[in-house]
């Protein structure tokens, strides 16, 4: 099994982790008018980068969401950092 590193729990088996989505998508401001194109882009369009990627993952056993930088070709994990500001 591949080992991923949870910022809270340390190095763990990949089966404990869940891919939540790409980092950097901004939800359109739904208090105003959002056109269909914009909403469809937010919902469905993916960067799906070949090579270096930045993604949001969840460590399911502690429910912590964090940012993982990986290489999508070699599968090497480059870094994991917490999303929460108050976690050091």
């Amino acid at each position: 099994m591949q080992i991923f590193t949870c910022p809270s729990c340390g190095a763990r088996d990949e089966r404990e982790f869940h891919f939540s989505g790409e980092l950097g998508k901004v939800r359109p401001n739904t208090t105003g008018e959002v056109n269909e194109e914009e909403w469809a882009t937010y919902l469905h369009t993916q960067g799906n980068e070949l090579g270096a990627v930045r993604e949001v993952w969840m460590h399911m056993t502690c429910a912590e969401l964090f940012v993982m930088e990986r290489d999508s070709v070699t599968m090497e994990v480059l870094s994991t950092t917490p999303l929460r500001k108050d976690v050091s």
């Binding site: 099994m1 591949q2 990949e14 089966r15 869940h18 891919f19 269909e36 194109e37 469809a40 882009t41 919902l43 469905h44 369009t45 993916q46 960067g47 799906n48 980068e49 070949l50 090579g51 990627v53 993604e55 999508s72 070709v73 070699t74 599968m75």
Partner: protein
């Protein structure tokens, strides 16, 4: 030079020491311009070239392949051909493909070894049986034949399945689509390539597209590792690498690329009659003509362009097989591979204009591209030749993600991803 494959020519060449067989296709250098350029020399791209010649009489065509023919997902699947889908749009699409496969060996003068041995999807509870009946009725309403089997009929049809008293999910019945089956993956690519080449299409291997040439908002050609090639219309059929290729044209897609694994065992005497899918285990299996079990399952849950699989899915798929057929639990694996599949939000393909004028897409087939090779080629050829949708491809335009008219086969047909 002998080009036509027949019993007579086999005999004649046999008497001459097989020295007269020509190459199945040429390896020309690219011209600077074509009417139509197709990116991707897999099944879909080569089928597109074949149908441009056959259906539209367009022969000034090039197929650009960055590696070798059929070396991507065409050579990395489990060769299952079926049309057991739920929605009318999907039934029309996939059943047309099965029907094209039925006549393909004759049409291409190349044996694609389409064996209509049937596909069985088992049901493992009474609610499962109700859902199976619903699926069956939907298929029949859409004009696709299938049968509902009870437990005894399943046992007679596939006696190797686990009917033991301790089975965790006992078999209650299943759906059988008799016209489904398996084909020979390389033969499909090679047959289309040979036919397209005979029609005048230039098939150019080791030719990677580096960028798209856009003039006045229209895509008018590509820069490749073999120079600039211009075209009136360009089609892309590059499966798991669609996002990466389209980025070069400034087009973003609703696609995630994942690895999909498959396994082949050592050759065995005949043990299976059909393709069997047991949904609770997420595993399906068929037996090739050489006797090897061809085993597949769900996606790796990690987005990936690395053409190899991860351990958790291997464990899930193979333990599922051991539960489906405990008699196979000691069988050894010979080979294992992964292809990079292009998964859309609704698990249905994207066929149609890309968003950049002059550039058309045939992608998003996800885990089911092999079965759709003839229809994918037919529809992309129609788009490239006429600039308009075929009535079967129209629902699969990418604008469905804006309109919200999704064709969610991921949910409806219980595709395991």
């Amino acid at each position: 030079m002998t080009r036509h494959y027949s019993a007579f020519n086999l005999l004649r060449e046999g008497l001459r020491g097989h020295k007269g067989w020509g190459r199945a296709w040429r390896s020309p250098e690219p011209k600077s311009a074509y009417d139509i350029v197709i990116i991707g020399g897999g099944g879909h791209g080569l089928a597109t070239a074949h149908y441009l010649v056959r259906n539209h009489g367009i022969t000034n065509v090039a197929v650009l392949e960055k590696g070798w023919l059929g070396g991507g997902n065409t050579g990395r699947n489990t060769t299952v051909i079926r049309s057991n889908y739920f929605y009318p749009e999907s039934a029309a699409l996939y059943d047309m493909s099965v029907q094209l496969y039925e006549g393909l060996s004759r049409e291409l003068n190349y044996n694609v070894m389409f064996s209509q041995r049937g596909m069985l999807v088992t049901a493992h509870s009474e609610p499962d049986m109700e859902m199976a009946a619903r699926q069956l009725n939907a298929m029949r309403l859409n004009g696709v034949d299938a049968e509902l089997l009870d437990a005894d009929q399943v046992r007679r049809f596939e006696p190797a399945l686990n009917f033991g008293p301790n089975m965790r999910f006992p078999i209650h019945g299943g759906i059988l689509q008799k016209r489904a089956g398996t084909g020979r993956h390389d033969a499909v690519a090679w047959g289309f390539a040979r036919s397209a080449d005979a029609g005048g299409v230039d098939i150019i291997q080791n030719c990677e597209v580096n960028e798209f040439i856009v003039e006045a908002g229209r895509c008018v050609g590509v820069n490749t590792s073999k120079g600039e090639i211009r075209a009136d219309a360009i089609g892309a059929a590059v499966a798991g690498h669609s996002s990466a290729l389209m980025k070069k044209a400034g087009v973003e897609l609703p696609i995630n690329s994942y690895a999909l694994q498959a396994f082949v065992s050592e050759p065995l005497k005949p043990v299976l009659n059909s393709v069997v899918l047991c949904p609770p285990f997420g595993t399906y299996v068929s037996q090739s003509d050489k006797g090897g079990l061809v085993i597949g399952g769900g996606l790796d849950r990690v987005p990936s362009y690395g053409q190899r699989g991860n351990m958790p899915v291997q464990e899930a798929v193979l333990s599922g097989l051991a539960e489906m057929m405990p008699s196979l639990s000691k069988v050894k694996l010979l080979r294992h591979w992964a292809g990079i599949v292009d998964v859309t939000p609704d698990s249905s393909p994207i066929i149609g204009p890309s968003g950049l004028d002059g550039l058309y897409l045939d992608c998003g087939w996800g885990t089911g591209g092999f079965k759709a090779i003839p229809v994918g080629g037919w529809l992309l050829a129609h788009l490239l030749a006429t600039g308009k949708h075929h009535e079967i491809s129209r629902p699969f335009d990418r604008n469905r993600f804006v309109s919200g008219y999704l064709i969610d086969e991921g949910a409806a047909s219980g595709i395991a991803h």
